[in-house]
């Protein structure tokens, strides 16, 4: 029965009373989802995607409440159910796979009993054999081996945990599955595998699926219909083809345009022609001299040598999956994580054997932007503390007024209103604003080298382009060299002068981005590029015969590919 709606939302409004007045998180939302259809909810954080999903589950956080409208789940009025009826409905008829599902497994229970709990809660006590068969079947259907059931959550990888959560969700054949950013914490390769699993299983049980996310590419590859939400309002709804090919609402157009594409139009300032200011230096700015890092028996980084000259500022991208050793490399460069062998030299001096004065100079000149913009500010202080403290500490300040002016200039340079932002506390700002403040901080200190470790992976898609062009401006206008650590090949393609692809602690392919990413030769680079979800229906992603294992196997054996050099960066590997 493809025509019966599994979910009908009519004029759904959700209110959150606050001291400043009632905030309408969702405004008169009407939507119908047919059985077997996949619908994507897309929008920025705060647009009401998750709130709508939680309202369907009747799990709204206090003090939120449905103020108007109806939720009809395949003929049942969800809002009229009693608490006990609702409990029975959850999971058996509508399953919710929460955001960061990997943290929602009980760490002290094996996987199997957690699944049995779900069955017992709905169907009463069943013989152990039946339970075991049920959980094994569910695990098999998401492509996990049967012995997974006997493991504890910490013994599973992120992708496996996510699949266990999907297995839990489909255990009772629900009419509707709600997946709230199921892959936001996973890297591209795993993301593609998990999305395939989710789509396969949804097709098999023929349920409806709501996929919540903010990545237009992922949506284009995984859903049939798209609902675009902005500030709690449904601004556009239609099939994926309609929306991707001919977006009507300006917000949708923005969303689509904000996805950086390999080979596509650049999102950076068009006038790249102006040469970046040069610095004079004799010694290489940063030199890795046979640096490796091992943790016990695990080698995070194989011996690696390179030299980054200081005279021409440039952006070197280090690309790889999680666990490829790229963040270890960042930590080693910053002087936080001493290498097991080899030396890290900053302008000819060993970073790990510096005196106090040299160390302060190194700190001033090598700065960082971290992944998590939420943790970077001390919640006790106003955000201006994070900007003014290092400025004074490094002796750049010539008095209070000077510091204030420098902060205001830096904020303006990254497109923030200083009067609005600086006197606030960190929790009053959005993730994007905070990350831009960190970039402004780097700008104020004007270091020689900036290490940007996944600076945009926790920021809304629509803001990524802005922050990246802020970072790019650091090089272009202020002559700061940048090491950009990322898993996102598309952005690396646009911003960098040189790309290194890291796989299991080794450089497997390196060269100018046009060659490495535009025309990959190493199987691992190909695997990474294949995994990118394109917001383009003509570049399908979900072919079923895609086997990352084969490519990865090939990648183990393949030799590293070096594709030409850029002046000022010399890479040697052994």
């Amino acid at each position: 029965m493809p025509d019966t709606p599994v979910l009908t939302l009519r004029d759904l409004s959700i209110d959150f009373p606050t001291p400043q007045g009632v905030v309408q998180a969702v405004k008169a939302l009407s939507l119908t989802i047919q059985a077997g259809r996949r619908v994507g909810f897309i929008g920025e954080s705060g647009s009401g995607k998750t709130t709508t999903a939680l309202a369907i589950m009747r799990m709204l956080a206090e003090p939120g409440r449905v103020s108007n409208g109806t939720i009809d789940l395949a003929g049942t009025d969800v809002l009229a159910l009693s608490e006990e009826e609702m409990r029975r409905t959850r999971l058996s008829r509508v399953a919710y796979i929460p955001q960061g599902a990997m943290n929602s497994l009980n760490p002290v229970m094996r996987v199997e009993p957690q699944m049995w709990d779900a069955v017992i809660a709905h169907e009463g006590a069943l013989p152990r054999g039946t339970l075991k068969a049920r959980s094994a079947a569910a695990l098999a259907s998401v492509g996990l081996p049967a012995h997974t059931g006997n493991l504890y959550p910490h013994e599973l990888s992120g992708g496996m945990k996510q699949r266990v959560c999907i297995a839990l969700g489909i255990l009772l054949d629900p009419d509707l599955i709600i997946a709230d950013e199921p892959t936001s914490a996973l890297d591209v390769v795993t993301q593609r595998q998990v999305m395939q699993t989710l789509n396969d299983i949804q097709r098999k049980i023929g349920s409806g699926l709501i996929l919540i996310g903010h990545d237009m590419g992922l949506m284009a590859q995984s859903v049939d219909e798209l609902a675009v939400l902005k500030d709690g309002e449904l601004v556009e709804h239609g099939t994926v083809a309609q929306i991707i090919d001919a977006p009507k609402h300006p917000y949708t157009q923005d969303l689509i345009r904000s996805v950086p594409l390999v080979g596509g139009e650049s999102f950076l300032n068009p006038d790249r022609s102006a040469p970046a200011p040069r610095r004079s230096s004799r010694e290489p700015l940063l030199r890795f001299d046979g640096v490796s890092k091992t943790y016990g028996t695990v080698t995070a980084l194989h011996p690696m040598s390179f030299a980054l000259q200081g005279d021409t500022p440039q952006i070197i991208s280090i690309v790889g999956q999680s666990g490829s050793g790229k963040s270890t490399m960042g930590g080693v460069m910053l002087g936080f994580n001493p290498p097991t062998t080899g030396r890290v030299l900053y302008e000819g001096r060993d970073v790990y054997g510096m005196g106090a004065a040299d160390s302060l100079d190194f700190r001033k000149n090598v700065q960082a932007v971290f992944q998590d913009p939420y943790g970077c500010f001390n919640p006790f202080y106003r955000v201006s503390h994070a900007l003014s403290f290092p400025f004074r500490r490094f002796g750049l300040s010539e008095g209070k007024a000077h510091t204030q002016r420098a902060m205001e200039d830096a904020c303006a340079a990254v497109g923030l209103d200083p009067d609005l932002v600086l006197p606030r506390y960190p929790h009053q700002l959005s993730g994007g604003q905070r990350q831009r403040l960190i970039v402004a901080r780097a700008l104020m200190l004007s270091p020689k080298l900036l290490i940007a470790d996944e600076p945009v992976s926790m920021v809304d898609a629509s803001l990524r382009a802005t922050i990246l062009s802020n970072i790019y401006d650091l090089k272009d206008k202020h002559g700061i060299s940048i090491l950009y650590i990322t898993h996102d090949l598309a952005t690396a393609y646009h911003v960098s002068d040189f790309v290194m692809v890291l796989y299991k602690g080794r450089v497997v392919e390196a060269g100018p981005p046009g060659q490495v990413i535009g025309d990959p030769r190493h199987p691992y680079t190909r695997l990474l590029i294949d995994s990118i979800p394109w917001p383009d229906l003509n570049r399908p992603w979900g072919s079923d015969d895609w086997t990352p294992e084969a490519l990865e196997h090939e990648a183990q054996a393949a030799a590293a590919q070096f594709r030409g050099n850029v002046p000022g960066f010399d890479l040697q590997t052994e």
Binding site: T18, E62, A386
Partner: protein
């Protein structure tokens, strides 16, 4: 669209009582220090301090000496077993050796609080220093401090203190506070060590390191302010423990011999058979005051808990 706007207008009717109460709760949610539990708890403790201060100004404290009046007089409005009525000369009655109860309480109640505060102040300071050292330095130092505090936690303090106090004979209040302090530093040490360990890896500490901050700066300017709610909570908890320990010792007759304390008054009452002679005011009044003190501390602790942990702040 028209529908939503008309609804917004209908929402502007004067707020009902329930709505106003909701708003008040929300306001409390926003300014956590306006916590009724905290107020009541502080009020009770300040009340006890006030008894001590005002009493010294307005009451004749010479009445604490033995035989200053008739023995075993009841409070005003009551009769004792000898059919004597309470008089305004001793509004709360007298004890078995004719000491005025009011004067005893005025002298004794602040003493108990003083021992508790001093002991936990010393204990907390030790705990902060050791906790920060262990968390920050790590390695051998951390092992030593951790094992030491773990071992000390398992030792029942009263047992050791009984031995100590009987060896010392008569002790001063400060001496007793010092001895008790030796048993209240362990849990703050562990608490702070755990917090420091998790904070050390946080983004803002890394940022401070990148900003060239010195170790003392990171400890006291970046980490410490975020620990304040925990420190307060832990402080109040150790004040409670310290008072319980002090009173325990006093009731056993092991506290200061020459200074009136609430515990010592109870000890003397029990010794003189006040329970059998129905001299309830003798042991009852100090117990009541101790009860008030503990309830005050408990309320402050609960209040601070809600302040530092927003999840406990209920909206409904």
């Amino acid at each position: 669209m028209t529908r939503t706007s008309s609804e917004a207008q209908s929402g502007r009717t004067p707020p009902s009582r329930a709505d106003r109460r909701q708003t008040r709760r929300l306001r409390r949610f926003d300014s956590p220090w306006m916590n009724p539990k905290l107020f009541w708890g502080l009020g009770l403790l300040l009340g006890i301090v006030a008894i001590g201060l005002l009493g010294r100004l307005f009451w004749n404290l010479d009445l604490v000496f033995t035989g200053s009046n008739t023995l075993k007089l009841p409070p005003v409005g009551f009769e004792n077993l000898r059919r004597q009525e309470g008089t305004w000369i001793n509004p709360l009655g007298t004890d078995g050796s004719g000491r005025d109860m009011l004067a005893l309480i005025i002298m004794g109640a602040p003493n108990s609080l003083f021992v508790g505060l001093l002991a936990s102040l010393i204990g907390m300071t030790t705990g902060i220093v050791l906790g920060f050292t262990a968390g920050f330095v790590g390695g051998r130092v951390d092992d030593t401090i951790r094992v030491l505090s773990d071992v000390m936690i398992t030792i029942p303090p009263l047992l050791i203190l009984v031995v100590f106090q009987s060896a010392f004979g008569d002790v001063s209040l400060t001496m007793m506070a010092l001895l008790i302090a030796g048993f209240v530093w362990q849990s703050p040490t562990r608490l702070i060590r755990a917090q420091v360990l998790s904070m050390k890896r946080s983004g803002y500490v890394q940022m401070a390191q990148l900003s060239g901050a010195s170790v003392p700066h990171i400890m006291f300017r970046e980490m410490m302010p975020n620990l304040v709610p925990y420190l307060f909570g832990s402080f109040i908890a150790s004040v409670t423990t310290a008072i319980v320990t002090a009173v325990g010792l006093e009731v056993l007759g092991l506290g200061p011999q020459r200074i009136p304390t609430l515990g010592r008054t109870i000890y003397e009452a029990i010794n003189a058979g006040a329970l059998i002679q129905n001299l309830w005011w003798w042991w009852g009044l100090p117990t009541l005051l101790l009860g008030v003190m503990f309830i005050g501390l408990l309320l402050i602790n609960l209040g601070l808990d809600e302040v530092s942990n927003p999840r406990l702040r209920k909206l409904s």
